[in-house]
């Protein structure tokens, strides 16, 4: 009886849920005080800490099918809806494992190197038909190597102390490449039909799938810069001397003859005894800059590159180019045109092709200055200066001190990175999401090292 009553009461004590709007008030605009309080109570998000470091990135653009850009999905799409991309017209970010300190673009291939002490210091991608990227073992058949490398793959270097030696710089030519280390000399790989790898030419040697990487140590002092021309190599040592080897039919080895050289030999001529601080070459013409601001040239002069001193089209001994444009800081050689940067920050071009002063200037033997206003200089921004100049085969690139990249020249397969396919007759900005630190120009592609903004 009592139990039944207790159960009935229990049932009653749980009333059915009535929809009451007890605490809810009708909506109305919040007062200023409420807004202010809501604002102060809002959570604060942190996207970057106080000690956030700027990240180092690599951007690539140009012709994709050779694999030189290092993005496999451009050539072999990994997802069904993607289509193979022939040209990457604007800068595309390339993910790398380490911070890349030096990059070089060859004729259809690229080398990236890092200053790390880890075992893998150099990565290569692109054309490998002459083993210019070393031996890239194929996964499917362990005895064969890849002809095209589609993503940055480690280059196996025969280092004595792989965990101590550091790679300082890389350089690429038409079918060979040079790797400069700090304590183990220079490593060369690739095609050696003209002795450009610094070793004796072997008749009927097959260069594809070759494991041979040659090491060069015999110089008067430590090598501090290596430069690849089309089929020759230049080495600059700490003492200011320049050595050369490779093809010489245009006099590009500067050794006084037009033959092949297979052992690096010191150059004489006008640079004997001069302290050279920079050399440059990419085609068959070479330029060297001394510490006093003079520029010397040798090699091919069919395009008026050296016409200021001689009428001959091949110069096989370094000649001083008596330009009265100021002290020269940096020089870069392309296939048909040359560019120099003076101490004041002015840029001069000469040679043949699209030189950067509009479509009317096609060739000149004497350097012509590119007006600084084209690089962003104005009364509003008087501090802008060009800091570096670089050359591809028929393109030029200039880096300003604000980290902006300007390009001009023939837009071969989209290599200028402007997003358009037309040739560019005067310096044009490339939009890169970051501050461009360095750029390497090739025949139909370019690679840039960039620091992010924040």
């Amino acid at each position: 009886e009592a139990a039944a009553m207790w159960w009935a009461l229990r049932a009653v004590r749980r009333p059915p849920p009535a929809f009451r709007r007890g605490l809810a008030k009708p909506a109305r605009p919040r007062s200023v005080r409420q807004l202010r309080e809501a604002e102060e109570a809002a959570p604060v998000f942190q996207y970057a800490g106080k000690a956030a470091k700027r990240k180092d990135r690599v951007f690539v653009w140009g012709f994709c099918y050779s694999g030189a850009l290092g993005v496999p999905s451009f050539v072999k799409p990994d997802v069904g809806w993607k289509k193979p991309r022939r040209i990457q017209p604007t800068p595309y970010r390339l993910e790398t494992e380490e911070k890349i300190s030096s990059a070089a673009c060859g004729y259809g291939f690229t080398l990236l190197s890092s200053n790390t002490a880890d075992i893998t210091k150099v990565w290569g991608m692109g054309l490998n038909k002459d083993s210019q990227l070393g031996f890239q073992r194929s996964i499917r058949d362990r005895t064969k190597g890849y002809e095209y490398v589609l993503e940055p793959s480690p280059v196996p270097l025969p280092l004595e102390k792989p965990q101590e030696t550091r790679v300082l710089q890389v350089s690429c030519g038409r079918a060979h490449s040079l790797i400069l280390t700090d304590s183990e000399g220079v490593f060369t790989m690739g095609n050696n039909s003209y002795g450009q790898c610094g070793r004796k030419v072997v008749e009927d040697e097959t260069y594809s799938e070759s494991h041979l990487i040659h090491q060069l140590k015999e110089f008067d002092s430590r090598v501090v810069q290596v430069v690849c021309g089309q089929d020759h190599s230049l080495f600059r040592t700490k003492k200011g001397a320049v050595y050369a080897c490779g093809w010489g039919a245009d006099g590009q080895t500067g050794l006084g003859h037009y033959n092949i050289t297979s052992v690096p030999t010191k150059l004489r001529g006008d640079i004997a005894g001069v302290n050279i601080i920079q050399v440059s070459s990419y085609g068959d013409c070479c330029l060297a800059v001394s510490d006093e601001g003079d520029v010397f040239g040798w090699g091919n002069s069919e395009y008026l590159q050296l016409a200021s001193v001689t009428e001959t089209t091949q110069v096989n001994v370094p000649r001083h180019l008596p330009f009265k444009i100021g002290k020269i800081k940096e020089a870069a050689c392309g296939g048909t045109g040359n560019i120099v940067l003076t101490e004041e920050g002015n840029v001069f071009v000469w040679g043949y092709g699209i030189l950067g002063k509009g479509p009317n200037l096609i060739e000149t033997a004497v350097p012509e200055m590119i007006p600084p206003s084209l690089f962003g200089w104005s009364d509003f921004n008087p501090d802008i200066r060009v800091a570096h100049v670089r050359c591809g085969l028929s393109q030029f690139a200039a880096l300003t001190n604000r980290g902006e990249l300007f390009v001009w020249g023939k837009n071969l397969r989209g290599c200028l990175g402007t997003g358009r396919m037309e040739d560019q007759y005067f310096p044009w900005r490339v939009t890169v999401p970051g501050e461009v630190v360095d750029v390497a120009c090739g025949v139909d592609h370019m690679v840039s090292m960039v620091k992010s903004f924040t």
């Binding site: 604002e39 996207y47 970057a48 479509p359 084209l374 962003g376 980290g403 939009t431 903004f453």
Partner: protein, 287 residues
């Protein structure tokens, strides 16, 4: 008494006042003074530059304007209206000082909007801000060249690019020709922006995007036009100067500037209006 010469003059519009009211005030004052003068008072039209930022339905304008501060307005009298159109077709740049506040993001990019997010900003330095501004300037310079509709492959395009005279001569999206940081004191900063075809909302959006690039957020606190083509703040007439005499003086002072600018840019077009300006200048010199 000679008739008021037609021409252009600039007026200082105080903050928070709709530009329509300013126009009415100047109009009323002018008409009153002219009527007081014995002699025929020619009918006057007063026309205006469509002040950017005040475009759109008038109702909306009143709501947005209070955030922002002062603008010199350019007004025209008589045949000055046609000069106004010509000046507009010159596509000259306007200069603004824009104030920003870091740490907040709102829905209409100004500090009176609804709060969207609050972020930290202690990692931001003046150097980072200047880097972002350099990039904004660079990409806008590229846009300037692209929208100017000149074939980049001609020698003419090269010459104009060297002199810095390439400008879009038609409709184009807002373009910034120059931007720099005047003051930087966390959390506030002030920018000077030179731009073309801009709207007020675009300027606020720029501040917001700068905040995003810096991995934080920013809102715009103040927008102030300090130059409109050839008219600077110095040429603007204050409220106390909205009378016939000062307006006449202002028109006379600015005439030369306006004429040179029009000749330089529209020199190849018809010179009818410029001729009329010459006649006016001669009249004024006589009287």
């Amino acid at each position: 008494m000679a008739a008021v010469p037609g021409g252009l003059f600039a007026v200082y519009k105080p903050a928070g006042v709709a530009w329509g009211r300013v126009r009415e005030a100047v109009e009323t004052r002018l008409l009153r003074e002219l009527n007081a003068v014995p002699g025929r008072a020619p009918r006057q039209h007063v026309r205006f530059l469509p002040a950017p930022g005040d475009d759109g339905a008038p109702g909306l304008v009143a709501a947005r304007v209070p955030v922002l501060a002062d603008h010199p307005l350019v007004l025209g009298i008589g045949h000055g209206n046609k000069l106004l159109t010509d000046l507009y077709n010159c596509h000259l740049t306007k200069v603004y000082t824009v104030g920003g506040l870091l740490g907040k993001a709102t829905d209409d990019f100004s500090d009176t909007g609804n709060l969207v997010e609050k972020t930290t900003f202690d990692h931001i330095t003046r150097e980072k801000l200047e880097r972002i501004l350099a990039v904004i300037q660079g990409t806008n310079h590229k846009a300037l060249l692209m929208h100017s509709n000149i074939d980049m492959k001609t020698q003419e395009a090269y010459e104009l690019a060297v002199k810095g005279l390439i400008r879009p001569m038609g409709k184009s999206p807002p373009i910034i020709t120059a931007i720099r940081c005047l003051q930087f004191a966390l959390p506030e900063f002030q920018l000077e922006i030179h731009c073309l075809h801009e709207t007020q909302q675009y300027l606020r959006k720029i501040v917001h995007e700068i905040g995003l690039e810096l991995k934080s957020s920013a809102v715009c606190t103040q927008v102030r036009r300090i130059r409109d083509g050839v008219f600077t703040l110095d040429d603007a007439l204050l409220r106390t100067q909205w009378n016939l005499q000062s307006i006449q003086n202002a028109i006379w002072d600015c005439q030369l500037k306006v004429k040179t600018e029009l000749e330089k840019t529209l020199g190849h077009q018809d010179k009818i209006h410029l001729h009329k300006m010459d006649v006016d200048m001669a009249h004024a010199a006589d009287s």
